[in-house]
């Protein structure tokens, strides 16, 4: 099918979803305005709420409940309530580093921050370049007016829907469907309170007395080109001859944990990240995880964590791992074959 025909077909299908055709109570904004509001929300408002996450992992689903608090600019606190295996876990991220406390082990793990500054106009353009996006309508979520936005990656694979709070731009609900239309991940607030000044003390980590501390800063400074990454890696760092549609090289880094040294090349379509890890096989036994998959030239293992998929294989003395979300398993296999060529 031609690329011009695909968006039209997709929009027709998206608009045909039952329940979304109801008359809107507020004028529906343009999709680029909604995307800009979503990107700008982290600079606009603080919030605290209860969030429920559902992820399909292989043949089972996992439901996680957490208290999530956010303070401008880039401070995050997440307390996990259930299931039992994560109950009590606390993550405090001050925008520079993150602290994880595990009460069952009385253990604190310190690592890099995973909260990023609010997005900007070029990032909004990237999002719209990498995805087919459309506003589907207006819906009420936990008593608030939301704009429903659908995004489908131009490269194919899982599509997402966002329920964006009309007043603040905060995503109150998110849903990801795989290529067959089955929901594989949902995230939604069951309660949320907005504020303009949550107490800073909530976002400071207080070390529990006697807790063991481990520091896990494993990545070096990022480099801006595949060539620079190859120079740093020393063991070579192969770049795929072609990438899924819309993806481009973002950055790379060398990561190290003990004797395990890897190069990590990151690619993005503006919305999602795809990472190619490479490490000498002499330094790492082949991980026996996931299910066997056949590539053109060798065998591989595919680990499906729902939101994230990992494809691992060995080829000519290098162990490769391809990690990404939303791309179908078949796209992983194609990319792996590209790398082996």
């Amino acid at each position: 099918m031609s690329r011009r025909g695909l968006p039209t077909l997709w929009l027709v299908a998206a608009l045909a979803v039952p329940g979304l055709g109801a008359p809107a109570r507020l004028p529906i904004p343009a999709v680029d305005a909604v995307v800009a509001a979503m990107l700008g929300a982290p600079a606009l408002v603080d919030y605290e709420g209860t969030k429920v996450l559902n992820a399909v992992r292989g043949d089972r689903a996992e439901t996680v409940t957490a208290l999530e608090s956010y303070k401008r600019l880039g401070k995050l606190r997440v307390e996990y309530l259930s299931p039992e295996s994560v109950s009590g876990r606390l993550i405090v991220d001050d925008g520079a580093s993150s602290w994880q406390y595990e009460p069952s082990y009385h253990l604190v793990i310190r690592g890099p921050s995973f909260v990023r500054p609010p997005g900007n106009a070029p990032q909004a353009r990237d999002v719209l370049r990498g995805s087919l996006a459309a506003v589907l309508g207006v819906e009420e979520v936990i008593g608030r007016q939301t704009i429903v936005v659908a995004m489908e990656p131009r490269a194919g694979g899982a599509s997402r829907r966002y329920w964006v709070d009309q007043a603040t731009g905060v995503v109150l609900r998110m849903e990801e469907r795989d290529a067959t239309g089955e929901v594989v991940f949902t995230s939604f607030f069951t309660r949320i309170s907005f504020g303009l000044n949550l107490p800073p003390a909530l976002f400071r980590f207080h070390l529990p007395a006697g807790a063991r501390i481990i520091s896990l800063f494993l990545s070096g400074d990022p480099v801006a080109s595949p060539q620079a990454l190859r120079r740093q890696a020393r063991f070579g760092s192969v770049v795929p001859a072609s990438l899924p549609y819309g993806y481009r090289f973002r950055d790379g880094a060398i990561s190290q944990y003990g004797a395990l040294v890897t190069s990590a090349a990151t690619y993005t379509d503006g919305v999602r990240t795809l990472t190619v890890f490479q490490t000498p096989s002499s330094k790492m036994a082949f991980p026996r995880v996931g299910v066997p998959v056949t590539l053109e030239s060798t065998d591989a293992q595919l680990l499906d964590l729902g939101y994230v998929r990992v494809l691992i294989w060995q080829w000519r003395g290098i162990t490769y791992a391809l990690v990404g979300s939303s791309l179908p398993g078949s796209a992983f296999v194609l990319l792996a074959d590209e790398i082996n060529h």
């Binding site: 994880q100 990023r116 990472t275």
Partner: protein, 170 residues
């Protein structure tokens, strides 16, 4: 005991050093834990390799050399280097000790390298997921609570204390 703690006891279990109650607990855990069964099988393999190493008899003259020295004052100031080396090779016990030291210097890095490679294989997938999740935080609409969950689980695995499934997740 948790999975991680039981795993640390496997070597002692194999050597029969645990109390009967602890050993029973390990046996029960092994029935339901494939990862621990695999670790145990690897340990058994290493142990059987070590048992297959030939035993070196201690030279008879070793004790005869050591006995008269017990209770005597320390040896005088060492001779020049060349003399020292000759002295070493005149005494078989010292030569043997030197050979053992040299073998150890070669073997230890080799064994350590193999162990590190196996360990890297065990934590490899968690390492990749963690680093990818951290890189994904650049995605404009990534769910931070879920990223925290992925990073948190992988952190625990790297720290040697992986998250155990609770009954409600199975």
């Amino acid at each position: 005991m948790t999975h991680a703690r039981l795993q640390h006891q496997l070597s002692a279990y194999l050597d029969g050093e645990l109390t009967p109650a602890d050993a029973d607990e390990i046996r029960t855990h092994l029935v339901g834990c494939a990862a621990c069964r695999e670790t145990l099988s690897r340990l058994q393999h290493v142990k059987s390799l070590l048992q297959r190493l030939p035993e070196r008899p201690v030279p008879e003259e070793l004790w005869a050399t050591i006995r008269p020295r017990i209770g005597t004052p320390a040896t005088p100031v060492p001779a020049p280097l060349r003399e020292g080396v000759r002295a070493v090779f005149r005494r078989p016990a010292l030569a043997l000790a030197g050979a053992v030291l040299i073998v150890a210097l070669v073997a230890v890095p080799l064994i350590r390298g193999r162990i590190e490679r196996i360990r890297a294989g065990e934590i490899g997938a968690d390492f990749f997921v963690r680093e990818h999740a951290l890189l994904s935080s650049e995605d404009p609409f990534s769910d931070r609570a879920y990223l925290g969950l992925l990073v948190g689980d992988a952190n625990l695995a790297l720290a040697g204390t992986p998250r155990e499934e609770s009954r409600e997740e199975r």
